[in-house]
């Protein structure tokens, strides 16, 4: 086989895996794990993928770590050419348990039999609702700063929100993320539906709008703060600031514009090297 062709397959596959990993979020921050720098190494051998991920501290909550491990596995398995995914959490107090659980395709309760009394669906739901509120707050803030008034915002339909122009790059991303999570949570997404509702799909009244916004803001400040703190901790833990002087794009990450990959020691191993 022509080695150049092989390496080009490898580059494409790496980019595909990276794109899947970008869909995995840290539940407490609603930010992509690739953007956060949580992916430590990515290794592709033929149709098998190994992802090592790391967290800002040794003590980060094991339940959220398990969620991310599961999501990494599931997202990478969505690629048609992938046969197996080996997910490994490094430098964490629950690394051994979680890695064994992942290797055996065990559930959360099977992984922590004496410590868990249920699966993680309820906890996941709590944090997806917070993510909804945070995304909505950011979108509303952007639209308000662009001159939209409250009446117009509350009258917005999904169609009109989708059609709105001149949102700028940031605004378009905020709109996409907001509409994505509406769909994810099963809220009405048809063209004529009201676009700005509570997380339970209830309308927001004009009189109640300010206090509603304050609730959203509290949630957004919390999630953003967690992101600020955790990024900083990861950077000092792994000395990323020093490595950040590497030229961007040194590794082909294919992360679709996300800025993460440049710190990452990606191991690109051609399939026939073993």
């Amino acid at each position: 086989m022509d080695p150049t062709a092989h390496s080009s397959v490898q580059v494409t596959r790496t980019a595909e895996v990276w794109q899947q990993l970008a869909r995995v979020t840290d539940p407490e921050m609603d930010e992509s794990i690739t953007d956060l720098g949580f992916v430590a190494t990515l290794d592709i051998h033929a149709n098998g993928v190994t992802v090592e991920f790391r967290l800002p501290t040794y003590w980060c909550a094991a339940n959220f770590a398990f969620m991310m491990a599961e999501d990494i596995r599931d997202q990478v398995l969505n690629l048609a050419w992938v046969d197996s995914v080996n997910v490994r959490l490094v430098d964490h107090y629950s690394s051994a348990a979680i890695n064994e659980g992942m290797a055996n395709a065990a559930s959360f309760m099977e992984t922590f039999p004496s410590e868990a009394t249920d699966d993680l669906s309820e906890l996941r739901c709590v944090f997806r609702r917070k993510a909804f509120m945070t995304r909505q707050e950011k979108l509303l803030g952007h639209l308000r700063r662009s001159g939209w008034n409250t009446e117009d915002l509350l009258d917005l339909t999904v169609q009109r929100l989708g059609d709105a122009v001149n949102l700028g790059n940031d605004g378009e991303q905020l709109r996409r993320r907001y509409l994505d999570i509406r769909a994810e949570l099963g809220l009405p997404c048809e063209a004529g539906e009201c676009a700005i509702t509570t997380v339970d799909g209830q309308p927001v009244s004009l009189e109640g709008f300010d206090s509603y916004l304050r609730e959203l803001r509290k949630c957004r400040v919390t999630m953003e703060g967690n992101g600020v703190f955790c990024r900083g901790l990861l950077a000092v833990r792994y000395d990323l600031a020093a490595k950040g002087s590497q030229p961007a794009g040194e590794h082909e990450t294919g992360s679709g514009g996300l800025s993460a990959g440049r710190h990452l020691p990606l191991k690109l191993v051609p399939a026939d090297s073993r």
Binding site: E28, P56, T57, Y58, W59, C60, A61, A62, N63, Y93, F108, M109, F112, S114, E115, A116, T117, D118, D119, L120, E122, L123, V126, K130, R214, R217, K218, C219, V221, T222, E224, G225, N226, V228, F229, G232, L233, A235, V236, R237
Partner: protein
Amino acid sequence: MYVTPNGEEIFAIDGHTHLWDASPANHKNRHGKEFIDCFYDYHRNLSPADYVWPKEKFERYPLETMVQDLFVDGYDDMAIFQPTYLTDFYETGFNTTEQNAVAKRAYPDRFILNGAFDPREEERGLDYLQGLVEEFKIRGVKLYTAEWRGDSKGYKLTDKWAGRYLEKCHQLGVKNIHVHKGPTILPLNKDAFDVADIDDAATSFPELKFIVEHVGLPRLDDFCWIATQEPNVYGGLAVAMPFIHSRPGYFAHIISELLFWLGADRLLFASDYAIWHPKWIIEKFMAFELPQEVQKETGVNLTLDVKRKILGENAAKLYDIDIPAQKARLKRQRIPAMESV
């Protein structure tokens, strides 16, 4: 004492300080090393570069260093010891009441010594709590609900034995309950940082004051919610305040949320020494002004009155400190190093 450019003296009570021994000789296992490594990352993450200590100094520092940093260089007039035992991680404990009591004996007017309890000690621990009150006259306790103990990964304030301890605190006049949430507690499928149990305890014990350390971070939103419901819930600002250096914009948001939801009377300054040094925190805090757009958005302001409350007056009320009398007392008993400054 911090003195404003106009000459006004601002009395500072540092609400969360430690004198720990996390030197390798005291590690019982890997967790001891990982615990102090994590603290050291907190320290490096948010401290100005010229305040970052070498690791060895951070693991164990002498009382003289602490006194110099807090009271000579750091503007603190008084400081509260918040013990964290961690006897499963450290041979002699990380930072116990008994260890901190050495400092209290040497500087009785400077330190407020808090104790600690662990409801998993059941009956035996109740006696220990009573002993702390008798021996050290403690007025507050620090609880770390995520502390590992044997197979247990933590407890909640709604546990049966926790209720017995809070009742005992009430009987003994220990009215300030500082609660620090951490990342582990069972069952593991629940959110370890959930503060709902503090809400329940605050309702059940209205005579007690519950100071939620780190203002509930990483659950600031849930903390604001319970503090809005419960007038006896306070916020300790350790971890939140150091954002003021590297992320002042974010600090503006966090402090204005807290002022909006809790008001100015229930927030306590804290450095979390030795994680952070009070000198730079107080200097930056006193110089800080909320950006106009944040003031407009939240309708709150960080005035000198508010700063004075946060830095000292609120804690003074909780610990029955008469600030003018205490100032006079401290002037009479100066620390030797202060003579040269």
